[in-house]
Every structure is written in C-alpha cells, then in structure tokens.
C-alpha cells in the first residue's frame, strides 16, 4: 500500500527527521491561502501515487499566491499521466504546499528488501533528484547498497561508509548518519516494503531535510497496522486492480486484448507467455487462487469482462484445490450476468474435468475447448 508524500512526511516528522514546513490543499483557494501564509512563494506538489510527477508537470515552484492558485486550478481534479502510470493517469485530489528550501546538495536514499542478502538494504546515491533507475543504468558505480543484518540493525560503521561514499563531511555527515538510523527504525516499525527520499537535501545552512518522501507499506503486514490502513487512498489505484484485490484476486491490468483467468500465479504467468507467443497480447494477469467458489470465479470473470479492451477470454485451470466444475459454473455465471458474447476459450485439466466440460457444453455459450496449452494458443490466435 502506497502512502502520499504528505502522509509519509508526517511519519518522518514523528521520528525527528526534518521536512519542509508544509500544508495540504484540497482546493485552489486553499492553495493560494497557504502559499500566501508561507510568504508568497512555495513548491506546489500534486499528491499522487506515481513517480515521475515532476517531469509530468505535477510539481511547480510558484513565486506568488496567484501562481499557486492558477496551477492548483489547472491540475486539481484532473488526471496526471507520468512515465509510471498508464495512459489514463492518476487523479490529483490534493496538493502539498511546501516552503522552498535553499539547496546546497541533493542525495538519494532508500530502504527496501534485498532478496539475495535476505535482509533489508539501504541504497544511497549522490545523484539525488534524478530518476534513480536511469542513474542505475547509466552510472551504476554511484549507487551504493548497504545490507542490514536483522539481529544487529544498521550499524554506525555502515552509516559512516555511506556518508563517505556520498562524499559528505562535517555536521551534515553526522546528521545524515543519525537520519539513516531513524529511517531504518521507520522502515521496521511500519513494516515497509519501500522507503525512499529523493532528494534528501543539505541546505545552504547545512540542515539535512527530506524534500520528498515515499513510503510503501507491505500489504501482507497491514493486518498489524490498523492506523496505517486508514491512510489508503483508493482513488489512486487502478480501479480494476483495487476491486480484484478487495476480493483477494491477484489481478494486473496489461495492454492487450485477451482476458485471462487462471488459477495459480506461475500458471497465470505461463498462460500470458503462451498467449503472447500465439500473437494474442494478454489484457491482464489474473490468479483467481486455489480456494475459489462459483461466486469468486464469476467475480473474477466479471472483472475481466468490465475491461473494455478485452476481445476474447481464455480460462486456463488446473483443477486441484479449485475444481473444474467450480471454474466452469463461475465463468458461465459471469458471461450470463454480463450478457457477454465474446469468444471463450477454455482449457481445463484435473479434478472434476468432465463435470466442468459438461457445464460449459450445456451453457449455451460458444465455448472453444482446448486440451493442452498448445491447442489453447492455437484457439486464441484463431478467435
């Protein structure tokens, strides 16, 4: 679950990390008033769950309250398309109005999971303010990784190594070392999957300030953070993905036109690969899970059908925990409810296969059966 910048900064503040003075505006008038109170100049930043908003025009340094008003008016209620969103973009419902800082230097700092080290890792770079993935591709030698041993926590020698790598000295180095320890504490306390500050700045008067803040909470750990659950902003999520997630269905919206319903994540990825190889780009990844009922399958198929770009549906089920008859009944249910006439290719195997086929045959739907993945691929490319 992603948090907004202003939410993340509130948490940072509680751990003693400096952030610029700021206030959230929900209307253009609020944007003007807040900017006015800040002395007339401010950074006005769209609060969206997507990186790359700067390049996409989601951030503006405003020199007057009127400029803030005009910018707010132009962006609030609109959709912002960034390199990290789809073509539709994400809605801008709030703006963070922030005091301007006198920047001397900018740093990148993040914490995430390092699968190879099987631990958390702190990542730093002196290339703060840039797109870090571009930096990683172009100049990987200025990206530094520091794995953190869970039993020890982040050790002081590691913070010294990082400030050395970043080329920082004096009081700022000590402040950043302290900040790193606090960030690791935030990461642990809130069960984060990603914490990122880009940029962390050193001001001209040597203050260390988090100019941006990104905090993703691990979905699997949300159950123990009741307070954080309330910070979820559903407006920022892909609506199909969000409603699938509500029903415990793993769904990812893709660009193609072949809707796919599969049980199991591995088989679902394999199914996309097969569809792609057959020349039919998948419209989605969907894992309906093992313990699905008729109704859950129907909901999953309905999510697929509600996607306007879908031109055909492939159901690929290896009946084990999810029985073939359940998959068949759910699919038929969804097709009928939606009065759907799109081609339906079904490949089923395993438990209750014959019952499943029987249900589909008797459904009145135009079902194309496939026994193997090869046949399924062929049927897709021909439909």
């Amino acid at each position: 679950m992603k948090l907004h910048e202003y939410q993340a900064k509130e948490i940072f503040s509680r751990y003693g990390i400096l952030v610029p003075n700021s206030k959230v505006a929900y209307t253009d008038e609020e944007a003007r008033d807040i900017t006015n109170k800040m002395g007339g100049r401010a950074a006005v930043k769209a609060q969206v769950h997507a990186g790359g908003r700067g390049k996409a025009g989601g951030v503006k340094i405003c020199q007057t309250p009127e400029e803030a008003y005009t910018f707010a008016k132009s962006i609030l209620g609109k959709y912002l398309v960034t390199p990290q969103t789809d073509n539709q973009g994400v809605p801008v419902n709030s703006l963070l109005i922030e005091e301007l800082a006198e920047i001397e230097s900018e740093i990148y700092i993040a914490i995430t999971i390092d699968r190879d080290a099987r631990s958390t890792v702190m990542i730093t770079s002196p290339a703060g303010g840039s797109d870090i993935e571009e930096v990683a591709n172009a100049t990987p030698e200025i990206i530094f990784s520091e794995p953190i041993e869970p039993v020890l926590g982040l050790m002081p020698f590691q913070t010294r190594r990082m400030t050395r790598q970043l080329g920082i000295e004096g009081s700022a180095a000590r402040d950043i070392a302290k900040l790193m320890i606090s960030l690791y504490q935030i990461y642990l306390d809130n069960d984060c999957s990603l914490l990122e500050i880009n940029p962390l700045i050193i001001t001209k008067d040597q203050k260390v300030v988090a100019l941006d803040a990104k905090l993703d909470i691990e979905d699997d750990a949300l159950f123990r953070h009741k307070d954080l659950q309330d910070l979820r902003d559903r407006s920022q999520e892909d609506q199909l993905e969000a409603s699938a997630s509500d029903q415990d269905i793993a769904y990812v919206n893709l660009d193609g036109d072949t809707g796919c319903l599969v049980n199991g994540a591995g088989l679902a990825m394999a199914t996309l690969d097969v569809a792609n190889a057959a020349g039919a780009a998948p419209a989605n990844f969907l894992d309906v899970g093992g313990g699905a009922t008729d109704e859950k399958v129907a909901e999953a198929v309905s999510i697929i059908l509600s996607d306007p770009k879908v031109k055909r549906v492939l159901v690929n089920v290896f009946g084990g925990i999810l029985r073939c008859d359940v998959a068949a009944r759910g699919t038929v249910l969804a097709y009928k409810r939606n009065n759907c006439t799109l081609p339906l290719i079904v490949r089923m195997l395993g438990t209750n296969l014959e019952e499943g086929k029987e249900i589909l045959r008797n459904s009145g739907l135009n079902v194309i059966f496939a026994d193997t993945l090869t046949e399924a691929a062929k049927a897709i490319s021909e439909s």
């Binding site: 699968r115 591995g266 690969d273 990844f285 993945l373």
Partner: protein, 294 residues
C-alpha cells in the same frame, strides 16, 4: 528413494483443524501419506479424521508420535510462530504452505533457520511429493503424479502440476517434485534442491521451472555450471510481465535487469541447461533429454 521424503516420513500438520489444513491433511492421507499428528493450540485432545491425534503443541506431538516432517497451514500472522515452534521441537524438515507471511517475519525466521539443523521448504509453496513412497506433503493433486526418475523443482503450484501433467501424460514418472515457494525470502533455494537431485541415485534428470523476480535462477545456473552432473531442462515464465508489477507471487516482480526472464534464461543457457521453448513444451523437452541419455 527420491529426495526429502521417503517411507519413514511421519507427517505432522500444523493448523490441522482449519479449513485448508483439514482439507489437505485428508488429501495427503488419502494419497497414502503417513499423517501421524495434527497441532492446533487449544484443540489438543481432539482426534482428526478418525485416527489422527491433535495436540496443543508441536513439542507434545513429536514426543507422542515421533513426527519428523511438519506441514504448515496456519494463517500468515501465526506462521513465523508455527515455523519456529517446529524448529524448537527439532523437526528436521518443514514445508510451509502459508501465503502472505510478512517479509519482515521471514527475514527473522530465515536467520533462525540458518542457525538451526532444519530444512524449510517455502513458504507460499505447494510443498513436496515422492510418488514412489506414496508420500505427499503439500497441496498438489496426488493423482497426476507417476513414480519415476525425473526430478521436478519449481517456485509455484499449478505450474508444477502443469509440468507434472505433461510428464505423466507422456508416461514419464517423477522421482520427487518440490515447490520451493513464490516469496522473496524462502527457506530452500533452487540450487539446494538441484544438489539433492544430483545426489539422488533414483533421479536421472531435472525439470526446473523458474520465474521472473530476484536472481535465484542465476544462482541455480551458477550451481549447475560448476557442479551439476545430471541434465537439466528449464523454463522461465513471466516474459510477458511488465516491470514493477507483482504477478501474484510476492516474489514475482521485475525490479531490475537480472529479474527479467531474458536474463535468467540467458544464464541458464550459458550453464548448459536445455531451455524449454514454451510452457506447452515441458513434457516433450524432458522426453527428448531422456531419449538422449538412455
């Protein structure tokens, strides 16, 4: 023989009285598996499915039944506790099926596993099976398996069944099948399972099914290149996945070049592994290799 399991395996099911635990405990038993005990705190003294005693703790279960394999179905918030309880009771082999364990829990558990004499399979995995020993410790449909001499190892569930289904339909049996799990932090890696297969006299070759995310497949390629004696064929799924999106499995997410299907496939090819061209060709690729070595 096969790997990990044999006819001496005595299975304990943690979370046996839950929906999933009870369903699969019965299915394992029906397959012929020696399910000797169940554990659900607070339900000790009950009897499950006529003859399986339920205990309050793994410690008591091991003492009374000499269980030596634990199969875990408890919900995510309690999974770290369940795994460490089995380690505490000196169970040498644990398969944790539970999906959705917080990764911070698994970081700690994995450190503890590293200093304990235990093999953990999973979490978020289908478990493992040895068809010849009639021993199934997991959620795979038993009926599709056939005793034989091909080892299967995969991250995920249904795709493993797909692989096994293709093998069995060609009359190719399996020495063992292991699903190591789809999470970022798991107990046993591909390379470790490959080594077990390499050392198993009843395995002739291995079918290895990886996916996008992380770099475990590259480590396996490294192992194969430097150590593996037996032929391996491999499939990496997820070529169609966009970067940064979690494809169901918590671990299946492209976060850098090495996490892509291309990078993994290239590493395996470089290690001399036969690449399976499409998910539809798992069985036939294995068949070709078997024909060559026989």
């Amino acid at each position: 023989m096969g790997i990990l399991l044999d006819e001496h395996s005595r299975i304990l099911v943690q979370g046996i009285t839950g929906t999933e635990g009870s369903f699969h405990a019965k299915a394992c038993k029906a397959y012929g598996t020696n399910v000797v005990a169940g554990v659900t705190p607070g339900k000790g003294g009950q009897v499950f499915d006529d003859d399986i005693p339920v205990f309050d703790s793994v410690e008591q279960a091991v003492k009374e039944t000499a269980a030596n394999v634990s199969l875990i179905f408890v919900p995510p918030p309690f999974a770290a506790d369940a795994i460490t309880e089995s380690i505490d009771a000196e169970i040498p082999l644990i398969a944790c099926i539970t999906e959705g364990i917080p990764v911070h829990d698994m970081i700690k558990v994995r450190r503890h596993v590293d200093r304990s004499p235990v093999r953990l399979i999973g979490p978020n995995c289908p478990g493992m099976i040895n068809p010849a020993a009639h021993c199934k410790v997991g959620i795979m449909p038993g009926a599709i398996h056939l005793p034989g001499r091909v080892g299967v190892v995969s991250r995920s569930g249904t795709l493993t069944y797909e692989a096994v289904g293709q093998l069995t339909s060609l009359g190719i049996g399996q020495s063992s099948c292991v699903g190591i799990g789809g999470d970022p932090i798991i107990g046993t890696s591909f390379a470790e399972v490959l080594q077990l297969y390499d050392e198993d006299p009843e395995t002739d070759m291995v079918v290895f099914i990886g996916e996008i995310g992380g770099s475990m497949e590259q480590q396996a390629a490294e192992y194969i290149k430097n150590h593996m004696q037996k032929p391996v064929c491999a499939l990496i799924v997820g070529a169609s996945a966009p970067p940064g999106k979690r494809m169901g499995h918590a671990g299946a997410i492209i976060t850098g070049h090495s996490a892509t299907s291309e990078s993994k496939t290239a590493a395996l090819k470089d290690a001399g592994v036969t690449i399976i061209p499409s998910p539809a060709d798992i069985g036939t690729t294995a068949q070709n290799i078997l024909e060559q070595i026989n």
